[in-house]
Amino acid sequence: MAVQFLRRLRSGGPGTSSARHPGGRAVTAALLVPAIAFLALFFFYPILITFGTSITPANGTGVTLEEYLTILSSPKDWGVIALTLGLAVGTTVISVLLAVPLALILRRRIRGHRALRLLVLAPLMILALVSALGLLILWDRNGWLNLLFSRLLPFSDGPLQIDYTIPGLLIFYTWLYSPFTILTTLSAVEGIDPNVEEAARVSGAAPWRVFRSVTLPLAWPGIRAGSVLTFLLAFGAFSVPLIAGGNHRPLPVLIYTEAAVFQNFERGSALAMVMAVVALAAIALYTRFSSKPVRGSAG
């Protein structure tokens, strides 16, 4: 499962300590209780409530799957799911395309690489809303980038509309969520023994081939680990599309709008459950199909 995959990545192997301590199982159980109880109360129970709400008819009694059926039969809702997934996948792909060359440059420890590393972290530390605001101002029809484009490309007809469009959301998401991919990719690339790439070169592999058959497969676990995070964050992004999505409403925004604005808790809850299932399924698929990367295709 995806979660296990994440856990394995994060903890760096099973932290088995053979130490058996006094007190035995009772003490162990007592130590575990607070966290389990907390999550039961404030995570699993809310999900149960959400699920309960989603299958309760509007008039209050009985059980109904009506909301789910409505979602499943509505092309509009399918469109929203597709948009959410599409944005997440697009962001992930762009992030990898950005991360790999950047990591290959930063590994060379050129002058100023420390500052660059710090810069990579910046989007992680700053509130997504703040970043989104900055990006909105930057890409505004009268913003700096459009001013630049209008000077560089004199034949362009009018300013580019980026804010509140899907390409705009992709740009924003990538700015916000690519650092995860960049950092793990960098760490994976730096873990590669340069002699191994050297061995490929002396064996007769041209630079691109060395990259494809040695560097990339060896960096792949790192790329995958970070890109799962990028994917998850892009999939669940809420505040950014809320203020910068315009008419494009990915699932989290739709869920919030249904529940908070239209007070339709049943539909909001059903959409939330759909979202949870899609998220878990997507990660499961992702980890499954990326676990055997370019391996073996040394040619």
Partner: protein, 372 residues
Amino acid sequence: MGAMIELVDVVKRYGDVVACNRLNLAVDQGELVTLLGASGCGKTTALRCITGSLRPDGGRIIIDGRDVTDVPTHKRNIGVVFQNFALFPHLTVVDNVGYPLRVRGVRSAERRERAIEALRLVRLDGLGGRFPRELSGGQQQRVGLARAIVYEPTVILFDEPLSNLDAKLRLEMREEIASLKDRLGFTSIYVTHDQEEALSLSDRIAVMKDGVVHQVGRPTEIYGAPKTAFVAEFLGNPNRLTGVCVERTEDQVVVEADGQRIAAIAESDTPKVGERAVVYVRPESVRIRNGTASADESTLRATVVRSAFLGDSTEYILSLSDSVSWHLRLEHTTRLTVGEAVDLSALRAGCRAFALGESADDGTHRGASAEA
């Protein structure tokens, strides 16, 4: 006969450090030449210039008559065996060995066949399906060897291939490389700082220091007739005596130190009378004197300071003066006790004298190890 590998005045700097300083070396077809030198003397740098991973700041590199100075690494057709093996961790053993063939467009069936043949040559049959991490260190280096020979490259470079292996395995792999070389006849440059390895394996040895080759020659030449104090010092773990040259004739020079006199072979560049000089004495040319010394032996007085049992022999540390101590290995037939005073005989043929000119540090630096 044309040289297979030729370095001409190769210069490589890292900032202020000159790692290769007008390096010249020619390796003939089928020859194994060792680059021998202390850590940091530029051996790896020289090798990396040959592979093309480093670009020399000056000079040319010629392989098989072709100037490859401007040829990128992957077009040089060189095999390299790395110190840390540098196997592809994501490929099986067969795929590791087959990789050079794969990038050369060899078809899969033939590739496999040739990889397995190469693995057989390094006596690794049957392990082709494993991943490198499932092999022991010795096995991994055999895979590295197989990968380097599988495409029959013009030359094979070895960068301290045995230094990550334990002593016994090192000996075994050394034999392996020697026999492979005899069978396949490749031309190679072999980097090491293990003199025993160099002496036993090489057709010729190039002794390097500070980016310069001091002497190139057959092992017996290098060992028996070192041309510089550094070469004499570096090979054979010699005993050493520093003093003043007091006599110089047609066939010998005599150096006096702390009241002891020692005669050494005269060479063209031996010190002149009155000059400070250092004499290197091969341990095997020193014996405990019994009876009178012959004409070609010098006699020296020493005190036994320490002894170390080595199994088949015992090593004694002998003090010739406050600042000079020698080591001497003796069979168990002769026994010395600590504190005992002995007379030593040093065979003139095993002694070399060098002037302590501006290169005085040549002797003093390394001397520490001999006196330890």
